[in-house]
């Protein structure tokens, strides 16, 4: 490795954020179709399980990456993740408040409440969308920093 010119390789955090953003976007699409539109119970449970386990996906990926004594993440990565977390909170809050506001309007409430799993499905969809937004933000921050 030269001490001179430096091409910055993609960090673990960047690769994970890219994959997680794509995964969460796919999960959100799946939830929108299979849970919100079609009202399937199994898709609802599997989407909820994926979201509940998403924290452990990162831990597992980090363990796989950490082979030797080299650092996999540090304070710079944590700063990116913290900004992604802020976007997640903002997106999740906006989604929940929007859904709550929609449910407060009687005609909308009737439309949303007819299939049993529509509202729970919309809640799960909101979490998936917020997760995708958070991971995409982290990936974008890494990308901007490498440019």
């Amino acid at each position: 490795m030269s001490a001179g010119r430096d091409a910055m390789p993609a960090a673990f955090g960047e690769r994970f954020a890219r994959n997680a953003a794509a995964g969460m976007a796919g999960l959100g699409l799946f939830a929108a179709i299979a849970v919100v539109v079609q009202g399937g119970l199994f898709p609802f449970v599997s989407t909820a399980a994926c979201l509940a386990l998403s924290y452990f996906f990162r831990r597992r990926a980090r363990q796989d990456e950490a082979g030797g004594r080299r650092a996999v993440e540090d304070e710079r990565d944590r700063a990116f993740v913290a900004r992604g977390d802020r976007v997640f909170r903002l997106a999740a809050s906006t989604w929940m408040v929007g859904l709550a506001a929609a449910l407060a309007v009687p005609p909308v409430r009737e439309v949303l409440a007819v299939p049993a799993l529509r509202v729970p499905g919309l809640l799960l969809l909101g979490v998936a969308v917020a997760n995708a937004a958070g991971h995409a933000t982290v990936a974008a921050l890494y990308r901007r920093d490498r440019a």
Binding site: M1, A3, F12, R70, E75
Partner: protein
């Protein structure tokens, strides 16, 4: 995290230490190579703890590695 006013001489100090690699410095400080690259490019301002770690890795004082540069 861009355009930090904290400049540094990490690259020069690496060369003066027998062309210490970025990975070598990263390992000595417990950070990733990407962070060393970002520091050298002036795109990242380190925490006080990391600044001290880097200075210790070179065996110099923190003021010999980092300095404040007015824009």
């Amino acid at each position: 995290m861009t355009g930090t006013p904290i400049a540094n001489d990490i690259r020069r100090l690496r060369f003066e230490r027998g062309e210490m690699t970025q990975q070598g410095l990263a390992d000595a400080c417990g950070v990733t190579r990407q962070t060393i690259i970002a520091l050298e490019a002036g795109r990242y301002a380190p925490s006080l703890e990391l600044a001290f770690r880097i200075a210790r890795a070179f065996g110099v004082g923190i003021e010999e590695v980092f300095r404040w540069e007015d824009a």
